[in-house]
């Protein structure tokens, strides 16, 4: 997988993950171009399109479009499955996820994605183990934060 984008129906980018090094300017151009193409497609149309030398697989969940760019020989259906898996993970983590969850906790969404995919390849095919990893990392984060009292926080302790 080359990259994954999440954007809203209004054309606002919500998440972007690039698995190959791309210059900032090219990124912007590609994102703009792709959003235009995908948003223009009618709901009845199929989820695949050929774009430049890549294949684009997208799917719409509520007001969000999940959009992946894969290479010529990659399997479109399994990519759809990846998208769906990611949505399921978000859903489990946030509890019926909505666009606002992703906007306000965008770093969490990234953490989940990073546990699920790495370098564009599936890391773990089991939902359970991904969620477990996330939970434990979060626990660690809370441990980090909890021992601080207010005073400590203010540097008075």
């Amino acid at each position: 997988m080359r990259f994954m984008l999440l954007f809203s129906r209004q054309g606002k980018l919500r998440l972007q993950k690039w698995y190959t090094a791309t210059a900032e300017r090219d990124k912007k151009k590609m994102v703009r171009e792709l959003m235009q193409i995908v948003l223009a497609r009618k709901p009845k149309m199929c989820s695949f399109l050929e774009w430049r030398d890549l294949k684009i697989v997208y799917k719409r969940y509520a007001s969000l479009y999940f959009c992946c760019a894969i290479e010529e020989q990659d399997n479109e259906l399994i990519t759809l499955e990846v998208i769906h898996r990611f949505v399921e993970l978000l859903d489990k983590y946030f509890g019926s996820v909505c666009e606002l969850d992703i906007i306000f906790n965008f770093e969490k969404a990234y953490f989940i994605l990073d546990e699920f995919l790495m370098g564009g390849e599936i890391q773990d095919t089991s939902k359970k183990s991904v969620l477990k990893a996330i939970e434990q990392a979060d626990l660690l984060q809370e441990e980090d934060e909890s021992p601080r009292s207010v005073l400590e926080e203010m540097g008075l302790a």
Partner: protein, 1150 residues
């Protein structure tokens, strides 16, 4: 200090956190940019503080802003600071920010090396995990080199969580630092069998990605993956493995054969669509790579097509789309299986989704045949009418034209129909493709002579109704058609019914509103028409009227603003005036005027000019005049660049052609033309061929369409042809039946059917309605085949093309930098980035590749289906190896040198023998093994499969291999449908240095009673880094009569009955001086001549075999002293004689 901290913390309480920022942005929709710039100012302040929590918060906000498209590269150093925090919370944010913002040219990355190494070895697995994840996004060549060893260690970490991440990131490391691949590969391979399924699938992922790019280095892993495939139940993993096999099979067709079965099983059993789709795709790929002449696996193809049909019928648009996509892949090699689903594809044209409709159109292109072309196009024409949106309609239009004109109008049987289709297409509103229609009209009218009369009539109507085409401003594009119409009417004006009327139409004042280039053609062709009118009756009323009209109307064009129009018009006006003058003096002028336009133009192939060879002695690079002296330095520079590039571009192209090759090609071309029914230019005698064809002239279509004159181009015309065609075909069929009854004995000449020999019978029956003589496009004598393009040199995966089977050399260890930090401090001059391998670097000794051969032959053994000689294990290990060198006789020293003292010691018998060899390539021929057509058509059902192993013996890459055999009357190489009888078959693989591969070719034999020798050539391109040359290798294929025999077991009672029946002719032979033991002798006969032993009593044995055409061959072999006598019986004496000769030959050699 304390105060500062307090101050920072209090500030922090008033800081915005991420949520505040997001909310703020949402509340300031109107002035977002302004709001954000204040936020960025705040963030800059926050970053200046020492408190890491504040910094992390700021970095988190920056990451969000970065996603919105703001530049945050200025904060790179702060990101590194946050990354190096000891707290996981902040570290996590730091790495996230880095993975989103850093790229190769971010200079602070080099500061992170030590931090990342520290995190990688952290006791907390989540620290390590976060570092690995981040690294996967921003790894640079430097980081990869410095950290490769650390990551490799992590691949054997105790926690699977780390192991799987480490395995995955290795792929990125390999890409950036290819030298790490060989040292790391053994461990990666180990991970394929990791107990944790996550790690295992990660390893599969990485190796599959690697192998997809450079499959040949991973062939040796095939058995392992095969095992994984048959044992794994994880669909994600299965898909990857199957994809990997798809990449491997083109290199190793034997692998394909092995794969077909498990894949079809999966297709049958799986319920996951993604897996099904992957399997189908791979089966298709496998079959394509096998299709070079294997008797096709029609069952597998049928299965694939069936499954795809289910996908296409599904209501899910995605499955429909993919089904069509995969279908088009099958179409290329197995068009017939797809054609039967025409109904379904046509249905898809009605789909709401445009992308599905376009896919279906693509498919239709390959599905047409002579039989269904009209029907399909009719359907498409309906869609053209219905289609909304010009883009799709234009797409339909181009597709219709593509479909009809493909492979030189191969599928068009009635060109009148095609012309009317084109005329109908001109009714399309707002199309941009007028020029396309025009060029088709021109092409057909020029190249199909028989159609000219009809075409001219249609074009005249078009010209007459030009106002319909030009009336609307929207229809600008379509008026291009008039260009063609005017030219056709002018050039072939002798066919015009009423030239005066057309002339009038071409000189209407309205014409002046057309684009200039069309007007120019109008004017020029008006002159041609005028000449025709003049000729038809000099001095008649018509010609005077024409003259007057020209003189009256042309001045309008003389005033044209377009130079071309103006010039032509004034020229022609003067000409007409002059003619008038001459005529007034009663001079006969018509002949001379017509001579102005005499002669016929032939179509020239578009590439013809490029292919004209440079004549001998002409050096295009030589100076015509000596260059001026070097005084003007400014002028010099561009010239230097120019002359430097020039030779690079042109020289290698011409050196490829040597004289011999040219002569040969010329010869081949002549032969081709002679046998090409479409080519009429070569000699007048070839035209006779057409006259001999079945009486096409009597077909009444031409007369009928006179009764259906086209008056208005707005009427759909083509439908009538569909009907007519149907009737005509029926009549044809009836005629043929009658004829065949009457003249059963009379042998008909081949006629024009030869080109489509391989087509189905029903195709064959359809004779074209017209004499179709498509004039081929002119080409220079020695046109060169164009070279195909090369791999992209910038492909990052190219660097990973590394042989993994070679053992590791000492200098290939990954750089380790252990505990050198202190030293670095002491001696700051030392280059920090240099990998620490100095000590080894001095003694670079490449280890000899010892283990490779065994591994490669393991693979061969795994793949080989050929029987290994039974006593081979006892001979040298080479003998167990069916790879050709062993028995070819070309292998120099590997043969055991001891004298034959034991019984087991025997020269190994191999299926392979040397066919031909030169310094580049070696061809090995497997004893032809036979496939008998089950249908048992004894006359032409017999096929012989020849397996040839190609081995690359040189250091260069061999590609574009083409295998060709000069067919004899009796035996023919089976070529794919649609190719001519002399076309070469391309070998479906390329050969890197030292690699060998097997291809199979099928031959059809008529009679098998005589041995056959076929001459053949193999042409190929030898490609080095800097040059490529064309080479060829000649060989002779020897089909012995023994090769037509199949080992068939026979019981003694059946054998006895056979002998008693008395149908068999007898023959015998005596062999003298045979010293080998009797059982060896029998084994030899069995092996080389495909006999089986029926019964053996002491020194006497009966043997049996059967030919592929069902001849029985019985032998009685007796031995006494050193004499062997063979009595033989067979129902075909010639065959028997030849087989006995061959047996004799076998024993005279030893």
């Amino acid at each position: 200090m304390a105060l500062k901290i307090v101050k920072g913390s209090i500030d922090r309480m008033f800081d915005k956190n991420l949520q505040d920022l997001v909310r703020g942005i949402r509340n300031h929709k109107e002035e977002e940019a302004k709001y954000i710039s204040t936020c960025i100012d705040e963030i800059k302040q926050e970053l200046k503080q020492d408190n890491i929590a504040v910094k992390a918060n700021a970095v988190c906000k920056l990451t969000y802003l970065q996603m919105l498209g703001y530049d945050v590269s200025w904060a790179a150093f702060n990101i590194v600071e946050v990354m190096s925090s000891s707290k996981f919370t902040y570290k996590r944010i730091g790495y996230l920010a880095a993975s989103q913002c850093f790229h190769e040219s971010t200079d602070v990355i080099m500061l992170t090396t030590n931090q990342i190494r520290k995190d990688l070895s952290s006791p907390n697995q989540y620290d390590t995990g976060v570092a690995l994840t981040g690294l996967s996004c921003f790894v640079t060549p430097d980081l990869a080199r410095d950290l490769a060893n650390d990551i490799m260690t992590l691949m054997s970490h105790t926690k699977p969580y780390i192991r799987k991440k480490a395995v995955l990131i290795m792929y990125k490391v390999f890409l950036k630092y290819p030298e790490s691949l060989r040292p790391a590969f053994p461990r990666l391979k180990e991970k394929l069998e990791d107990p944790d399924p996550g790690v295992q699938s990660a390893a599969v992922n990485v190796i599959c990605e690697l192998a997809r790019r450079n499959p040949k280095n991973y062939l040796s892993l095939a058995p392992l993956f095969f095992k994984l495939m048959t044992s794994s139940t994880n669909n994600w993993v299965l898909i990857k493995i199957i994809k990997l096999f798809g990449a491997l099979t083109p290199l190793e067709p034997r692998l394909g054969k092995k794969l077909i079965e498990p894949l079809t099983n999966l297709i049958h059993s799986t319920s996951a669509m993604s897996l099904l789709y992957e399997c189908v795709n791979t089966v298709i790929a496998v079959l394509i790579s096998l299709s070079s002449g294997m008797p096709n696996h029609s069952a597998s193809i049928q299965l694939c097509v069936q499954k795809l049909r289910i996908l296409i019928e599904d209501s899910d648009q995605n499955l429909k789309y993919l089904g069509l996509l995969a279908m088009s892949k099958i179409l290329k090699t197995h068009p017939k299986s797809v054609q039967s689903h025409k109904d379904l594809i046509l249905q898809c044209l009605d789909d709401k989704d445009e992308s599905i409709r376009l896919r279906a159109l693509d498919l239709l292109y390959g599905m047409v045949s002579k039989k269904n072309l009209m029907e399909i196009v009719k359907k498409l024409m309906l869609h053209v009418d219905k289609a909304e949106g010009t883009t799709y309609r234009d797409e339909l239009l181009t597709k219709i034209i593509d479909i009809c004109s493909q492979s030189n109008y191969q599928y068009i049987t009635n060109f009148e129909w095609y012309i009317s289709i084109l005329v109908e297409l001109t009714r399309l509103e707002g199309t941009r493709h007028g020029h396309l229609i025009a060029s088709q009209m021109l092409d057909v009218a020029i190249r199909v002579k028989a159609i000219r009369g009809f075409a001219v009539a249609q074009m005249a109507t078009l010209l007459d109704n030009a106002h319909l085409l030009t009336g609307n401003v929207q229809r600008k594009g379509i008026c291009e058609v008039l260009y063609a119409a005017a030219w056709i009417c002018g050039e072939f004006s002798e066919h015009l019914e009423n030239p005066m009327q057309t002339l009038e139409a071409m000189l209407r004042p309205k014409v002046a509103t057309l684009p200039g280039h069309i007007q120019a053609v109008y004017v020029q062709n008006a002159a041609k028409l005028f000449a025709t009118v003049l000729k038809s009756g000099e001095g008649s009323a018509d010609s005077t009227a024409a003259q007057e009209m020209m003189i009256e109307r042309l001045p309008l064009f003389v005033q044209s603003a377009n130079l071309e129009v103006q010039e032509r018009a004034s020229c022609i006006l003067q000409l007409v005036k002059y003619i008038q003058k001459l005529q007034q003096k009663d001079v006969e002028i018509a002949e001379e005027v017509i001579a102005l336009f005499a002669g016929e133009l032939n179509p020239v192939a578009p590439k013809a000019q490029k292919k004209v060879p440079v004549p001998e002695g002409l050096d295009l690079d030589a100076w015509i005049n000596e260059p001026p002296s070097e005084s003007e330095s400014e002028d010099e520079q561009p010239r230097a660049i120019f002359s430097k590039e020039e030779p690079k571009y042109s020289r290698p192209r011409h050196t490829e052609v040597d004289e011999k090759e040219l002569a040969k090609r010329r010869e081949v071309r002549k032969q081709e033309q002679a046998s090409n029914p479409f080519y009429i230019k070569s000699s007048p005698s070839s035209q006779k061929v057409y006259q001999e064809g079945p009486g096409v002239e009597h077909i009444p279509v031409v007369q009928i369409d006179l009764t259906v004159p086209l008056k208005v181009p707005g009427l759909p015309m083509s439908d009538q042809y569909v009907k007519l065609e149907e009737e005509r075909r029926q009549k044809d069929r009836a005629d043929k039946k009658k004829k065949e009854k009457k003249k059963r004995k009379e042998k008909r000449g081949g006629g024009r059917g030869k080109k489509h020999d391989s087509g189905p019978e029903s195709e064959e029956d359809i004779t074209p309605a017209h004499m179709v003589d498509i004039v081929t496009e002119e080409m220079p004598e020695n046109a060169l085949p164009s070279d195909d393009d090369d791999k992209d040199p910038n492909d990052p995966h190219k660097a990973l093309d590394i042989d993994l089977d070679k053992p590791l050399a000492d200098n290939e260890k990954l750089p380790v930098r252990s505990h050198r930090a202190a030293e670095v401090l002491k001696s700051p001059t030392e280059d920090e980035d240099e990998p620490v391998v100095q000590s080894e670097e001095t003694s670079v000794v490449a280890a000899p590749p010892t283990s490779t051969t065994s591994e490669v032959s393991d693979l061969d053994f795994w793949l080989s289906n050929a029987p290994v000689p039974s006593n081979a294990q006892e001979a040298a290990p080479v003998a167990a190896d069916p790879v050709p060198e062993a028995a070819s006789g070309a292998a120099p020293d590997s043969e055991p040198e001891e004298p034959k003292d034991t019984e087991a010691e025997e020269t190994p018998m191999s299926n392979y023998c040397l066919l031909a060899e030169n310094s580049y390539i070696k061809m090995m021929l497997e004893d032809a093994d036979q496939v008998n057509d089950i249908q048992g058509n004894l006359q032409d059902g017999s096929q012989v499969v020849v397996s040839v192993i190609f081995e690359n013996k040189c250091e260069s890459f061999l590609k574009s291999m083409e295998f060709n055999v000069l067919d004899s009357l009796n035996s023919k190489l089976q070529r794919p449908e649609g190719s001519g009888a002399h076309d070469a078959l391309s070998v479906p693989f390329q050969l890197p240095p030292g690699v060998s591969n097997e291809a199979r070719f099928v031959f059809t034999m008529q009679s098998i009673v005589m041995p056959q020798k076929l001459k053949g050539t193999l042409t190929f391109i030898v490609k080095n880094e800097d040059s490529s040359t064309h080479e060829k290798l000649e060989f002779k294929l020897h089909f012995t009569c023994s090769s037509y025999l199949i080992t068939t077991p026979c019981y003694s009672d059946a054998f006895a009955k056979l002998l008693e029946s008395g149908d068999l002719k007898c023959s015998s032979v005596k062999l003298e001086g045979i010293s080998m033991p009797f059982h060896h002798l029998l084994a030899k006969i069995c092996f080389h001549h495909h006999f089986s032993v029926v019964e053996r009593i002491d020194s006497c044995a009966s043997m049996y075999s059967r030919s592929i055409q069902g001849h029985h061959v019985c032998l009685l072999v007796k031995t006494s002293e050193q004499t062997v006598s063979i009595d033989a019986k067979c129902d075909e004496p010639t065959l028997l004689g030849n087989v006995l000769d061959e047996i004799k030959q076998t024993f005279s050699q030893c």
